[in-house]
Symmetry: C2
Subunit: 281 residues, 2 copies
DNA sequence: CAACGTTACGCTTGGCGTAATCATA
DNA sequence: TATGATTACGCCAAGCGTAACGTTG
């Protein structure tokens, strides 16, 4: 299970081609073939079907492990190197798009005021950025059952701490049959069409409220306004923090799901520690 | 950052000796020296001081990454191999010592009754056992702030779900000045002597309630009765679930800390999925 | 038959062991 | 000075590229 082989395997699987992977990695087609064969021989089972190239069951399973593993390896390397570099007094905090609630914004401001850089990244990247030491702290948001942790990509030895939970509202297009309601239950919306977004993945809804929740459209970006446009245009519903400017937002009264913000950090020192304490109240 | 080199580095650091590590790993002293040198050259910094052999700052940092990384690598391999083996109908669930609350025990029993193996392991191992596929599900318990996730060793792509939170009591020796109280606050106990146990690590208390909490004795096992004996003998206090048979247990009324149980699992199928649904209510 | 993956084969080099050398408690 | 890490050096094999060979859409 040499990471070198793992990387090649992942690339082949992603590109769906030995030759394309070889080009991407700077190997010959032959070398890639040999590397995959070595990995398969090592595990004693087939990882890829050829022509067309697609993962077997075992291959798919290995892929789920390999990608985060390689990410962790890179993060570990980056973290060790960075730790040895300048111990800057400037503090960097990585935040996902909706993680900075009004309350957290106030707490970030101080007093005392800190020399702070806020780095906005996608939800998936916050953990990686913190693990690699590029940011001292991270704030990630997501949709979860109350008091359940978010499902973060598992990228290194990070400490996670819930710092905020707030209610959600269902974003509905104007004129939607349910738009007038005072409150909605998730159970009432299983048959509706939903947006698949990074903030509110449909699998999470199914985890929480059972099957249903057809996907109307998948949106992979991180821009709230675009999501609102998509909802308004009727592509599907989604959940947003209750204080967002949602079009015809109706509070979700069934309290089995919340917008949750978590603070991530590695080993804390100095300023970072003080800020972390302030953020967790 | 070849895992082979990483493993050697970890072994040298743990054993505090190149020669001891060489013997343990089946290499010559020379090979180990070369491997460590290669790793240091690759990262461009010293990882170990020699004579005595101890990690540098960077080395200590790398160790924190390397150990779980290697664990994950093994877990990934084991998981892929196991997935391809017999899809047994027998269900295995790994549990840490106090994870099976009375309520969860009832839910485990059914109906319907399942062909179930319960495997007791230490708190640290549950995640690894589930990640490697040796168990289909895991139940881990620990002490946490309410609605905060437990800090689990980060060993693979696992799903975590809180399934129970219950109050804690402070275990006090008979005749302790505070033993008669109706309820205690953590803040009242910062100056007391505490046991350091896997269930209730003193760092967790400090995270939650600030500094203090001197360590009277460290206990690394998983046996509740031994812990109770240690408390009774005055080695220090500890927190236990309120329904435990604690000596002179006084409920913790300050509700900033609970005994939490989490359900862990990888990809679920069949029986395992049904059991998981039953456990999360 | 064309595109693509596999196999054969030679060569380079990474990495091990042996043994000599260096450093420190 | 003895213990233990490093360096020198030779050897083997892992693993790459070139090129010939299958195989399948």
């Amino acid at each position: 299970m040499d990471p070198h082989l793992l990387r090649t395997f992942v690339t082949v699987a992603r590109r769906g081609s030995f030759s394309a992977a070889a080009e991407e990695l700077g190997y010959t087609q032959s070398a890639v073939s040999q590397q995959v064969a070595t990995l398969e021989a090592d595990l004693g089972l087939a990882l890829l079907r050829r022509r067309p190239v697609e993962p077997t069951r075992a291959g798919a399973r290995l892929l789920e492990h390999a990608e985060p593993l390689l990410l962790r390896l890179r993060a570990a390397r980056a973290d060790v190197l960075r730790a040895e570099a300048a111990p800057s007094s400037r503090l960097t905090i990585a935040v996902s798009p909706l993680a900075v609630t009004p309350d957290l914004a106030v707490r970030l401001a101080g007093p005392p005021r800190l020399d702070l850089t806020i780095r906005a990244t996608s939800r998936d990247e916050v953990a990686a950025v913190v693990a690699s030491g590029e940011a001292d702290l991270g704030l990630v948001d997501g949709v979860a059952a109350p008091s359940d942790p978010l499902r973060l990509p598992d990228v290194g030895p990070l400490t996670t701490l819930g710092v905020a939970e707030r209610d959600l509202a269902v974003a509905l297009p104007e004129g939607h049959p349910l738009a007038g309601r005072a409150g909605l239950r998730l159970a009432d919306l299983v048959d509706a069409l939903w947006l698949q977004t990074p903030l509110c993945p449909v699998e999470r809804l199914r985890d929480i409220a059972g099957d249903g929740f057809r996907i109307g459209l998948t949106y992979t970006g991180d821009d709230l306004h675009t999501v609102l446009r998509l909802v308004a245009a009727g592509h599907g519903l989604t959940l947003l923090p209750a204080d967002s400017p949602a079009p015809a937002g109706v509070p979700l009264v069934d309290p089995r799901v919340v917008h949750r913000v978590e603070l991530l950090h590695g080993t804390l020192t100095g300023h970072a520690q003080r800020l972390a304490e302030r953020l967790r109240q």
